[in-house]
Symmetry: C2
Subunit: 222 residues, 2 copies
């Protein structure tokens, strides 16, 4: 299986990095091919811009329509976008690793969605959800929140579960493009882990990754 | 009233731009002081980075803790972050203008939240929601979606209303910092407007802005 890991954390000693590293070693031990996109280390640009295209319509700038135009002109995107599109197209499973900031992914990862999941590449008119262009690929979110789990309840301070909060990514992004969205791996209270809790978290993640490859559990069917 | 407009669209001829422009002229006609942050035109950097700080803890890089550290060191942030923090602190009302991309704001605006709403400035330990540090300020989201309204229903294709989809911004960001979140101004099917619909949309927006200033309608109380 070809696995793309999209990783959005600065710090190699962070919990997010540790989870990502154990996933990669687990997958490699299972003879899967892993490619990693380390967004911060690569200096990935998250801003959608006209420089993202080697060809432009010349009309009022509508990013989505420029994406569509570029797909009809022999992948007329900037080199970094082309590279990520190719990695995505080759992947059977895509894993996303990030800390939860403002109930969402950091901007650098949002920009990966904005720029790489282009109209004409990942979706198109009439080609969404069950007809999405990434049909057959699996995706899994690994998200680390600082706040405690009791805040993430419909009647808690955050007025929603973390899974509900991730609806824009799970449903509005990954499932929108036709991907099979696996059960996410979610961590709460990230800064208050004992050494034992930290180790058992990594063990749980190893087993979640093994299951993601061999025995997909669907979050839901679209 | 001091109003900060945070605007995230490239194209001066877009519907998002037209809505923003009519808001500014309406506010200025009412003798309110308006400051605009035009994220794309300013080349705003949305990537949270160690260069955002003029002082660092020297510990493992945790962005949130570096923010807190910087607030204790005479606003030790990069100049662009300091500028936006000062604009925010002076504002009584903040308006956010953006197109809906992937059930969310574009990365350039997500990065404004990540970098400007710093720990120690907009919130802190124990200072969230009803104790948030931006208490007394009002905020309003103006979001333009390409998809039709019937998709944005709990039983529609998107499996949620646009208001539910904006929970990370409304609740998890603005209310989290203590702001009073006004009823959002939402547009659907943005690319299929007749000239008349377009005009009446702008008129409706003018009146929503007048109400935002004079007669706040709360989305909810936290």
């Amino acid at each position: 299986m070809n696995v793309l890991v999209v990783y959005a954390h600065h710090e190699p000693k962070s919990l997010v990095a540790s989870l990502k590293n154990i996933a990669i070693s687990t997958l490699q031990a299972g003879d899967h091919a892993v490619v990693e996109t380390d967004l911060y280390a690569n200096g990935f640009t998250p801003v959608a811009n006209k420089y993202d295209f080697s060809t432009l319509t010349g009309k009022h700038f509508n990013y989505m329509l420029e994406q569509k135009h570029a797909t009809l002109r022999d992948l007329g995107f900037a080199p970094d976008v082309v590279g990520e599109i190719q990695r995505l197209q080759e992947a059977d499973l895509v894993l996303f690793y990030f800390p939860v900031w403002w109930f969402s992914e950091p901007a650098i990862l949002k920009g990966w969605f904005d720029r790489v999941l282009a109209m004409g590449i990942a979706w198109d008119g009439g080609k969404i959800y069950e007809n999405g262009m990434l049909l057959g690929k699996k995706a899994m979110v690994v998200a680390v929140a600082g706040g405690p789990e009791e805040y993430y309840q419909p009647l808690g301070k955050h007025k929603a579960t973390l899974k509900q909060i991730l609806h824009p990514i799970h449903h509005g992004t990954l499932a929108f493009c036709g991907m099979d969205v696996l059960e996410p791996f979610l961590v709460y209270s990230s800064m208050n882990k004992t050494k034992d809790e930290y180790s058992s978290l990594l063990e749980r993640h190893r087993s979640a990754i093994e299951q993601a490859v061999t025995r997909p559990r669907y979050l839901s069917k679209y």
